[in-house]
């Protein structure tokens, strides 16, 4: 969005033709991301509403199904995401102070956190599948499984959708970071031109915040 390069006079290299100044371009880019995050918030709030509805409809079922959630793994994942938010912020800070090496390092650290999160999340899903808690109509718990409620498939169905949508956002975030990494290596970011990196960072914080709400709702609130 912001990487046109026009060689006009008194036109900085990274300034797109339709903006008057880098300041205008940067503030437009940031505002765009904030507005976009508004829609992300509404997107997830639909899922949160659905969860609240299911919880009020089947409180015992949800309480029982939540016993299968491992709060330790969820907690570790929360810490991983919080750390990744820190590294991402430091990455933007490094770019703004023209420190390319640090930018790359922090970007890689953030991506590592993202992958670690996905790995742990996948392991959790695997554990649920092992018990037979498949989504929807495939829900067929093994006899030893603790959750046998006939409506538990709704909880697990929604759990998979919510964590799946969140995971999809992590994947998108990682994709953005790969793109940012390429652009960093091409020396595109500096103290003047950093808004794409900052927007990636904002997106990542949003993904983090959504998890901060998902975690207590799914794992802790019994």
């Amino acid at each position: 969005m912001t990487d046109h390069s026009h060689g006009g006079e008194a036109h900085p290299k990274y300034l797109a033709h339709h903006f008057k100044s880098m300041e205008q371009q940067t503030s437009a880019g940031k505002l765009g991301m904030w507005v976009f995050m508004g829609q992300e918030l509404l997107f997830f709030s639909g899922l949160f509403c659905a969860f609240g509805f299911v919880r009020s409809m089947y409180p015992e079922m949800v309480a029982q199904a939540q016993t299968s959630m491992d709060w330790r793994l969820g907690g570790i994942n929360s810490i991983i995401l919080l750390i990744s938010s820190l590294t991402m912020s430091l990455c933007v800070r490094s770019a703004r102070s023209n420190n390319k090496n640090a930018t790359v390092k922090f970007l890689l650290a953030t991506m590592a956190c993202g992958f670690l999160f996905l790995t742990i999340k996948a392991a959790e899903w695997g554990m649920h599948f092992h018990e037979g808690y498949y989504p929807g109509k495939y829900f067929n718990p093994i006899p030893e499984a603790p959750v046998q409620d006939i409506h538990a498939h709704i909880f697990f169905g929604l759990y998979y959708v919510m964590t799946g949508m969140h995971g999809l956002h992590i994947v998108v975030g990682l994709g953005l970071m790969v793109w940012m990494l390429v652009r960093t290596l091409k020396n595109e970011f500096n103290s003047e031109n950093y808004v794409s990196l900052e927007n990636t960072s904002l997106f990542w914080h949003l993904v983090d915040i959504v998890w901060i709400f998902l975690y207590p709702l799914l794992y802790l609130a019994k």
């Binding site: 508004g38 829609q39 509404l42 997107f43 929807g136």
Partner: protein, 564 residues
């Protein structure tokens, strides 16, 4: 610049260039089909949306004619599902396609994506929207989403109605997943356009272009964008849940599995009610521009009209329950939703009164755009007032799911939004194409459309109030005369709309070149350039706003430094 090497189809820009030959404008700056398909110029993107939307309008309109043709057949006693020209199943698919294409591919994007894209930067004195590439991505997403919907027409069909109500949508054998996926992508295109426009209005205004100097069309587009960004994601996630429900049966909407179909209705209308304001608000914006320019008067109550757009956008989020008065929701909830529904009537009425007050003692010229304003005012008034019947709990119980509802929303959606859209396209036609259009045929079209429209939909109010349910393939013979009238009206309406189409096509291919840069003597910024058709970057040099958008000649005060 791109070379014309491969055998590209001749687009109308190429033809224009041979006529003009003078300075290049946005139509002639680059050549070839690909220079259009991958342009980041908001004006070209607007034109591409216009061509696509007009095409889908035609397709969805033909579906409507098919429905009307079936309904005007003489009723056969003891008819079966195949007694009439199309079978009952095909009838269900035809009304679904009519509704889904009209709502998702035509009405929702109609004004913001075409005139909004074209005019927003021109009206606020910017070179482009804030994110030109994102704008192009939105257009490509629109096309991809549209292809999904077109796919469902060809493969598997769709018979859920445009609303995808559960549990039927999770059980029918038609291609619901492809359709909801298409609607999801279209929603994403809509969200991105909304984000783009909000940032454009905030960050790209020319020097001197304060919020109260913006044309009211910009206010309307801004309010629309807010709804697009905040409401659309909810329907996005709802459609995902419907698709997953169909695939996996997680049991959130399906009562057989322990879910609740009313939850779907709440989610769906949380978007789809604000969506009707996505549809109508930009139409209001167009009317504000047209009514002032063609009566040479400043708008009556600028701030009231501007703020009422925001008011409608905000209150519109809290009225969705009025679609569910008969769903079994609590009576208390229904009372609140009914009350809030009446509250929306206040800012809407402010607008209508303002337009009428603007006309009062104005110097009205009966141009084609102005004739469409009159058509709009009549039809929207009827549509708005019949909404009051439906917002009242006691009458809605009787009118719910009858033709009364069908007539009501056609009066506001078609009689409101699409009439305003056609009027707006006529108004800005010289700016978009650089061509003159035939005024006589323009005015004739507005009259034929007006007659045809009322003949189609007014009988539907009467039969609806007498209990004719909507979406039925067959009906009791006592409704026959109403259906016959309505069908005849729909053919008249079609003739009127074809006159519009031929008038536009005639103007493009055989029309005289427009010689005036400001044929209507408008005062807003898009008319200020000396070029008839805007150049690629809109303005020769940065424009500066020194006065409001409706300060017509007799009203302009001497401009002092620093304000007016």
């Amino acid at each position: 610049m791109q070379k014309r090497d491969i055998g590209k189809p001749v687009f109308f820009a190429d033809m224009l260039s041979s006529h003009h030959g003078m300075s290049t404008n946005y139509l002639t700056a680059k050549k070839g089909f690909l220079s259009w398909l991958f342009t980041v110029d908001h004006k070209r993107i607007g034109v591409m949306y216009f061509v696509s939307i007009a095409l889908f309008f035609l397709v969805a309109g033909l579906f409507a004619l098919l429905l009307r043709a079936e309904l005007m057949q003489v009723r056969i006693p003891n008819a079966t599902a195949t007694s009439y020209m199309i079978s009952a199943d095909h009838y269900n698919e035809a009304f679904t396609f009519h509704g889904a294409i009209m709502v998702f591919l035509v009405i929702i994007p109609s004004v913001p994506a075409t005139l909004g894209n074209f005019l927003l930067p021109l009206m606020i004195g910017a070179k482009d929207v804030a994110f030109p590439k994102l704008n192009l991505i939105s257009f490509h997403l629109y096309i991809v989403g549209a292809l999904f919907l077109v796919y469902t027409i060809a493969f598997g069909g769709l018979d859920t109605g445009w609303t995808f109500y559960t549990p039927y949508s999770t059980q029918t054998s038609t291609s619901v997943i492809a359709a909801v996926f298409g609607a999801f992508i279209l929603g994403f295109a809509s969200i991105l356009t909304g984000v783009n426009f909000i940032v454009t209005v905030h960050k790209m205004r020319a020097p001197g272009m304060t919020w109260v100097r913006m044309p009211l069309f910009v206010w309307a587009i801004y309010a629309t964008s807010v709804i697009q960004v905040l409401a659309t994601p909810v329907v996005g996630v709802t459609l995902i849940l419907v698709a997953i429900e169909r695939l996996l049966g997680i049991g959130i909407f399906d009562s057989n599995l322990g879910g609740d179909p009313i939850l779907f209705q709440n989610f769906f209308w949380f978007y789809s009610h604000p969506a009707v304001y996505i549809m109508i608000l930009p139409g209001f914006g167009i009317i504000s521009e047209l009514v002032t320019t063609h009566s040479r008067k400043n708008i009556f109550g600028y701030k009231a009209v501007a703020i009422s757009s925001i008011g409608i956008a905000v209150i519109g989020f809290f009225v969705w329950g009025h679609h569910m008065f008969t769903s079994g929701q609590s009576a208390l909830a229904s009372v609140f939703f009914s009350l809030l529904t009446y509250a929306v009537a206040v800012p809407t009425a402010i607008k209508v009164f303002s337009w009428v007050a603007t006309l009062y003692k104005g110097s009205i010229s009966f141009t084609t755009p102005m004739c469409y304003v009159f058509v709009f005012l009549f039809l929207f008034l009827i549509g708005g007032l019949t909404g009051i019947f439906l917002g009242a709990l006691s009458t809605d119980v009787h009118l719910h799911n009858t033709y009364f509802v069908v007539a009501h929303f056609h009066y506001v959606m078609m009689g409101g939004t699409l009439i305003a859209w056609i009027g707006g396209i006529y108004h800005w036609w010289p700016k978009i194409t650089g061509k003159k259009f035939n005024q006589t045929w323009g005015i004739i079209s507005s009259i034929v459309v007006f007659i045809g429209f009322n003949l189609t939909f007014f009988p539907q109010f009467i039969m609806g109030s007498r209990g004719m349910p909507r979406r039925y393939y067959d009906y009791l013979p006592e409704y026959y005369s109403f259906h016959l009238l309505s069908s005849i009206g729909s053919f008249v309406l079609a003739v009127g709309l074809f006159i519009v189409l031929f008038n536009w096509l005639h103007s493009i291919f055989y029309g005289e070149n427009e010689s005036l840069a400001n044929p209507w003597k408008g005062k807003s910024m898009e008319w200020t350039e000396t070029a008839v058709v805007p150049i690629e970057h809109n303005f020769e040099k940065q424009p500066i706003s020194t006065h409001g958008p409706y300060e017509f000649d007799e009203l302009i005060k001497p401009i002092k430094a620093g304000g007016h």
